[in-house]
């Protein structure tokens, strides 16, 4: 396959009289190795992200007897989610929602300030692709070696190199899929059972699934995920404005491009870009940043490193390609000193939103109670008429004891005169009901309220259940209604 730069590919139809194809082959990208500031930042973030991912499940956290000692755990059968000291019950998934909202607003905020840094540095697709490329480079060599290898006919050497690459990729992919399931059960147990063949089919299925997706996405799909599959590049433009920083080629400084020849003075009007294409060769999505901002650019900054290296060699000022804003460059192009504006209506808005959501989350977590009470009114029958003419309503009080010790609660009902509380089994003491709640569980208490027909009123009257703890402190009050016959 002839390798075309994206620019050549874009321009290709103009040179042909025949219509272009409806479907185009992928142009394989051979990113070149590069070192520099942004590459170092990228390595650091890669190491940090992978360490958290592969190591997270192994952190232990003592929660006392009877509770799992894994710091990060989503226990589906429990069902509880553990996050260090925080223990989330299924009905509290809104904390997860809050976390996702926080992450989304955070993403908006960072994007409005620095463009696609998420894509270039922290996105799992980028991190794993980068790791796979590293492995590929170790085994098959750098850009030109890989191009040569792909062009070479199949032989022992090619099979060995390609085979080794794919084997290494599959190994990493398997480790990735394997690490995922560790978060759903006790990690050491999962590993032991996995290798003894004792895990459930579900475990093997998910490890297989994530192995396959990692291998395909990071090994084969790569930049196509960012260009064709990922929705984020399509609407991130809404977060950007002319003051947002993005990887930008300073055209006013670079143009006209022209090669440097020894002993020949550059023609007047020649810019700093020597048209060496180093920036194109290192780009993981295979684009030419000199064409301007493009949807394919993931903002990884590798072209900055590449160009700075060249600028150093040819003795010109660095940062011909740089993290900079459109507005700043427009000023500079006019010869005025540029100015970066980080404080703008949209960054203020995003920061404020971020602060609000974070505050809500922190307050909600701080005020999180260890006891929760729900009262359900029986719907069928709505009410029951008793022989003595009184009206009875059924309720189910659910007490969620989230503490890891047993507790005793007192349930009272108030509303109007004549209201009598009785448990479904037995009698109430002094008009109230004492319930023993087991540790870390839901206590379901069916009970009845009875009232004389005259007192229950024509249709429905409000009643309130109060739940007190052993010390007599009010834990919860829940308002509900008492329904009587219409006539």
């Amino acid at each position: 396959m002839k390798s075309l730069s994206s620019r050549e590919r874009e321009a290709a139809p103009t040179n042909q009289s025949a219509p272009g194809p409806l479907y185009a082959d992928r142009v394989k990208v051979y990113p070149k190795r590069i070192s520099g500031t942004w590459r170092r930042v990228k390595w650091a973030i890669l190491v940090a992200c992978l360490s958290v991912y592969y190591g997270g499940a192994w952190l232990r956290w003592d929660r006392g007897p009877g509770a799992p000692d894994q710091a990060l755990l989503i226990d589906m059968s429990g069902p509880r989610a553990y996050f260090f000291d925080i223990e989330i019950w299924p009905q509290e998934v809104y904390y997860i929602t809050g976390l996702l909202v926080l992450a989304a607003v955070g993403l908006f905020f960072v994007t409005s300030l620095f463009g696609r840094v998420w894509c270039g540095y922290a996105c799992p697709q980028t991190v794993w692709t980068d790791l796979f490329m590293l492995v590929e480079r170790w085994i098959q060599g750098d850009r030109s070696a890989r191009i040569r290898l792909d062009k070479a006919s199949w032989g022992v050497r090619k099979i060995a190199l390609k085979g080794a690459t794919h084997a290494a990729w599959l190994l990493i992919a398997a480790a990735t899929g394997g690490a995922w399931v560790l978060y759903f059960d006790d990690a050491p147990t999962v590993v032991r059972e996995f290798f003894r063949g004792e895990s459930t089919t579900g475990v093997y299925f998910f490890v297989g699934l994530f192995t396959a997706t990692t291998y395909v996405l990071a090994g084969w799909a790569r930049e196509q995920v960012c260009t064709y599959m990922c929705p984020w590049p399509r609407f991130q433009a809404a977060m950007l404005d002319e003051h947002s920083a993005a990887v930008t080629y300073r055209a006013w400084r670079g143009e006209q491009r022209g090669p440097i020849r020894k002993g020949v003075a550059p023609a007047p009007g020649t810019g700093d870009c020597i048209d060496c294409k180093a920036c194109v060769y290192v780009c993981p999505t295979g684009i030419d940043i000199r064409d301007g901002l493009q949807i394919q650019c993931i903002g990884c900054g590798l072209c900055i490193d590449a160009c700075n290296e060249i600028m150093g060699k040819v003795d010109r000022a660095p940062n011909l390609i740089a993290w900079t804003s459109v507005a700043y460059e427009a000023e500079r192009a006019q010869g005025r000193p540029g100015r970066y504006r980080f404080v703008r209506p949209r960054t203020i808005l995003y920061a404020a939103l971020l602060a609000v959501v974070a505050t809500v989350m922190v307050v909600a977590l701080a005020l999180r109670t260890t006891v929760e009470v729900n009262v359900l009114r029986d719907r069928m029958p709505q009410f029951v008429l008793l022989a003595d003419g009184s009206v009875r309503n059924g309720y189910t009080v659910k007490i969620l004891n989230k503490e890891r010790r047993a507790a005793s609660f007192r349930i009272e009902a108030t509303g109007f005169a004549g209201l009598v509380l009785r448990p479904a089994q037995g009698e109430a003491q002094n008009g109230a009901l004492t319930v023993q709640a087991k540790p870390d569980s839901v206590e379901t208490v069916p009970l009845f309220l009875k009232a004389p027909r005259a007192a229950s009123g024509p249709a429905s009257r409000g009643v309130t259940f109060r739940v007190l703890d052993a010390q007599g402190r009010l834990v919860a009050r829940r308002d509900t209604v008492f329904i009587g016959p219409a006539r």
Binding site: G20, Y228, D388
Partner: protein, 285 residues
Amino acid sequence: MAAEFERDPVTGRSTTGHEWDGIKELNTPLPSWWLYTFYATILFAVVWSVLYPSIPGIDGLLKHTNRQDLVETVKAATEAQAPMVDRIRALSIEEVRKDPQLLAFARTGGRAAFNNNCAACHQTGGAGARGFPNLADDEWIWGGTLADIEQTIRYGIRGEHDKSRLSMMPRFGADGMLSPAQIDDVVEHVLALSRQPHDAARAARGAPLFVEQCAACHQNDGSGNRELGAPALNDQIWLYGGTRAAIRDSVFAARAGAMPHWEGRLDEATIKMLTLYVHGLGGGK
């Protein structure tokens, strides 16, 4: 038009040849793997249709159906429940009631059986309806103990089973046993018994008639007799309505609602589970 591929003058790219309101779409190729993925989905659909039932009347090569899945699921569930069900079958109802775990299982199973078999008349939750007793209240025409409830479920009321409990109220009006005026007097007395507004003079005239004609079953004070299935008349619960007109209808033509027997139609364990469920609705004695 469609055959002529044009070039867009601005971008220099070819167009697809489609035009909408003067706007022409550029030909922007998708990657081939995308296309092949699309073909693969079509192939998948074809393979699926051959293997699994997709066209009415054709089973598919694998002969797999959701009904078969259901049968297997139900079978597995039945097997999983078998130990509990066997214990319920082996134990007496009282014994089951004393075992909290068995009781919870029985009540849950009882609710399912109730909703399948009984709710058509008695409504879900035993709410009852006119002519169909409310099973959650504290009035039991034939008794509300576990044994009473079990007997009612097992053999029915005024049903076809040999052991079905029977009781027939005479048709005082239709059969001419009481005159219309006498019936009105008895009705006033019944209203008095249940402490409802009534005509005191007529009620006084109805009292001896009640003692003579009705008290054998319903007792002098109208408290009813569960042995005979005679409902209490001195309370606030009325199966066929407690208004003057409804009571008159009952005295005139009598009421005789029937309940089918479930022995032989539901298995032993289910009958026990139903009994425990009904007893636990809130009115069990």
